[in-house]
Symmetry: C2
DNA sequence: ATCAAATAAATTGCATACAATTAAATCATG
DNA sequence: CATGATTTAATTGTATGCAATTTATTTGAT
């Protein structure tokens, strides 16, 4: 092997994972000013996105949707409950399950939240075709890694 | 507006940012078993990648490379110093600057680290063309957001 | 029916991330 | 050349993330 090239794989610029990691963080940062208006963090926001759609979920299901575990979700859900956007209660069918249900206030928040994607979209403008390509590649990777 | 579609922008499946966020986390998880062998976290690993290439950097430069601030880097660099992979010392030219220099032990670590990318590559197999496309799109976004 | 195995959350411990603030050093301008 | 502005790290405080463990509950095989 050409020794001058041996360590090139360790250069940041030759990594695919690094821009992925950096880009994800930057995107979350783009969300921040808009989410601050709703007093939500990014993780709380995506959790609410699931709740806006599903209305009722248990922690395990939420974790599967969001790729988060109970160590992250438990404190986060307690905060959302404290804000009044969800309720947390044990299932009577199976006491192990904690059922998360969206509240009226939670539903109401959706009216403001619906404006967020467009605001962020202005900061991150890819061509529709590029966005589509990126979307597919990301999910391809995600599915590949979850095997 | 068609009301049945009004809130579709809030569905996780219609988000580009969510798979980005999820994929980045999953990738870091793929690294973990291999980095565990080196007793490095992912963030410590990418920091070492910069050090392997540059040998000497100050905290500000590292932060620019890695998109991290001193709040993250200061404790991380202290850990890398404790492991013996870097030294931390103030510049005599400008005492505000903290100069990070890689040590012998740090250089030595590169021998094991150089095997990591291939191992991770096996878990994340995109076609070279796809990887190239993804790489370009991610950097396009990163550069756009840093304006 | 009983009890070991499995399941679901919660807890614990550690390591980021990052905004905001602070402290020290240097610069720049009158 | 004095001092206010700027720059660089460090610190503080809050919120993740996740592995590993614990606790409570339920399931399932005998």
């Amino acid at each position: 092997m050409d020794n001058s090239k041996k360590y090139d794989v360790l250069k940041l610029e030759n990594q695919l994972c690094f821009p992925l990691y950096a880009c994800a963080k930057e995107v979350v940062r783009q969300y921040k000013p808009f989410l601050d208006e709703l007093e939500l963090t990014y993780t709380q926001y995506i959790t609410m996105m699931v709740m806006w759609e599903k209305k009722e979920m248990n922690v395990k299901e939420l974790g599967e949707c969001l790729y988060l575990d109970s160590g992250t979700l438990t404190p986060l859900l307690k905060k959302l409950e404290a804000k009044g956007y969800i309720t947390r209660s044990r299932s009577s069918k199976d006491e192990r399950n904690l059922i998360i249900v969206i509240t009226e206030a939670g539903e109401k928040l959706k009216e403001e939240a619906v404006l967020v994607p467009a605001k962020v979209g202005k900061c991150i403008s890819l061509e529709p075709q590029e966005a589509q390509t990126l979307y597919k590649l990301l999910y391809k990777m995600i599915h590949q890694m979850n095997e």
